[in-house]
Symmetry: C2
Subunit: 370 residues, 2 copies
């Protein structure tokens, strides 16, 4: 039972480079911590489109459904900008999320002490920051029907003659299950959840607020729950981010708010994420792990990328998929130690300069620190 | 023709207090700059609900349609939280926006030099910040149909048995007209527009991007146009806000992004906004001016509120409704001078302490500086 199956999808841009370092880390845990990994590889995003004409093949989708955890690098690239919506790199990622039903996206925004000065925010505002955004990932305006661009030619008031439609749609059940994830996680942290929506403007926001409150009152009355309008949430994240512990919000608000929160820390290259679904037959949740950063086409293939976000995503896999909390902490400590020793990739270089480590040098340092 | 009709809607919370200071300023311009103002007063939001059972009466709506400019304080308060959605204070404001067809919401985020240290961001990141967010204000998910909360009892998978729906709907014409506003404004500034959407996920975002590009290519090829995904936009606003000049975005993204941008400046109590529609018979645009801050029920009635955002909203009225750019600049300079002299309301007090000015003392200082 210390044997785990993994599907590695390096994706596009810097994805393959950073994933190569994760493999070194996986090998170390295999060799030194009595775990055994059964690893498969596959394509997703633009690299899959280039090879197969689709950003995700049915074969890869089936593999993703069958493994204990999927590790993903990043998708996207400017060369795919003109592709049709239905085959854009992002569709591969969205298909994985939807068909694996990964409804809870965990995005920690943590400020590493050694890196606090990289934040555009004042040190005293972000030092020690440790918040967890739980974003609903399989519903809302990302997936709601009807959607599309239609002709509106019969409307003389509509210069241009087209109309674009998307639908924000949430069921109470979809809201309740992600709320439960947030409350569970809060219990293992500071026991506080702040739920964000626009209930003053959107009925789907009213339903969101009511259902989160219902789950709280009926199942988690011990957790402190507050509600905030999402625009105020965006403000408060900038003003005083440490007021938050766990934030739970919908797919679209979560997209913006988690990116803003990530940027507060000043070190996007450091931030992992986990996307979790329902338990499988073996008790492990359906799961996909990926760094918060994107594919960074501008630096791809140059050995400049920071592999830490992707490595820390594997630490989340150890914790949430394999119940190996000690091993996860061991890996996280190794990363902290390496940073405290001054190891820096190009994105972490201060104005004082110096020679940055390459992607693979950083990976080697972390393995050495383990 | 230097005669202007105004409808003043103080609204709720601190609205009446700050609006009282605006009236002093209006009186000064009437007495000293050869303008004459025909002022009517009305209720909106909770105060209208309390008096009439609706957050905006038809009479007040009709007045708003007939004047040169509406000045609004703020709406909302915790005592109205349990009201039905249809009569919440916000509905009064949303009705004004929709029926006056105020499609272009101008939200400057400007960092005042004397106040740069109030920002949670580093001084070097925000000093001199001067961006203008142009938010579409009459369409999108705020107003799209179908909307509402429905029963979903026949769906056994839906624990809770309800579904909440909102519709994001944009016509090409709605996008083009707000894009034109943004390009026009950019020409009077640094000539750069960044348009934000989620075209990688939403078809309405694809339409947004295409129509903004169309207006650019056909009518404003001289303005520099870029496109950015809204999540990246939220990041970039935190990371390096001065990279932007004019940002144009939809109603919902604009709500979050403009609040985040406002908070970057560190002085929410300073930020005005203008909401503009099509020209009326007299050539002036339909217009409503209001501070970006809310009704702040926690400090209402205590004389602690900062009236500057509301006063600067009147400066925007001078500029955009009355074509009195010189008078607007005169008022803005008076505010800057008063701040440079150290005048501070409670929200602007630093850790060094001191005695803050009251709302009306600040208003008096500004009138004295004029
Ligand atoms: C790549 C894109 C489809 C995706 C999203 O919008 O969810 C990304 O921004 C994210 O946050 O993971
Ligand atoms: C009060 C509320 C309806 C409003 C909005 O969501 O537009 C406010 O947040 C704003 O930005 O003006």
């Amino acid at each position: 039972s210390d044997s785990y199956s993994l599907l590695i999808l390096p994706g596009d841009g810097i994805g393959p480079e950073v994933m190569a370092e994760v493999v070194k880390v996986i090998d170390w845990f295999g060799a030194n911590r009595g775990m055994s990994f059964d690893i498969q590889h596959g394509l997703v995003g633009g690299s899959s489109y280039d090879a197969h004409g689709t950003p995700l093949t049915d074969e890869t989708m089936a593999k993703a459904q069958s493994v204990d955890a999927v590790l993903l690098g990043a998708v996207g690239g400017t060369q795919y900008d003109s592709l049709d919506f239905s085959v854009k790199p992002e569709r591969g990622l969205l298909r994985l999320r939807k068909e694996m039903d990964l409804y809870a996206n965990l995005r920690p925004a943590q400020c590493f002490d050694a890196l606090a000065d990289f934040s555009s925010l004042k040190r005293e505002v972000v030092a020690g920051l440790d918040i967890l955004i739980v974003r609903e990932l399989t519903s809302g305006v990302y997936f709601g029907e009807p959607r599309g661009i239609h002709s509106d030619d019969n409307n003389p008031d509509n210069e241009g003659g087209r109309v674009g439609i998307n639908t924000q749609r949430y069921t109470s059940g979809e809201i309740r299950r992600v709320a439960r994830s947030a409350f569970e996680l809060a219990r293992r942290r500071s026991n506080r959840v702040c739920s964000m929506e626009k209930a003053n403007v959107m009925e789907s926001g009213i339903l969101w607020r009511e259902e989160v409150q219902w789950v709280h009152d009926n199942e988690y009355p011990d957790v402190e729950l507050s509600h905030m309008y999402a625009d105020n949430g965006a403000m408060q994240l900038v003003r005083k981010p440490r007021q938050f512990d766990v934030i739970v919000t919908d797919n679209l608000f979560g997209d913006l708010l988690s990116d803003a929160a990530a940027m507060l820390t000043g070190s996007l290259g450091m931030l992992p994420s986990a996307s979790l679904g329902a338990p499988m037959a073996n008790g492990r949740p359906k799961a996909l792990y990926e760094p918060v950063h994107g594919s960074a086409p501008d630096i791809a293939g140059q050995g400049k990328a920071n592999p830490i976000a992707c490595i820390l995503s594997f630490a989340m896999a150890l914790r949430y998929s394999f119940d190996q909390g000690d091993a996860a902490a061991e890996l996280e400590r190794a990363v902290e130690r390496v940073l405290a020793d001054g190891a820096r990739t190009a994105d972490l270089m201060g104005p004082e300069g110096g020679t940055p480590l390459s992607t693979s040098e950083m990976g080697d340092r972390i393995v050495a620190a383990l």
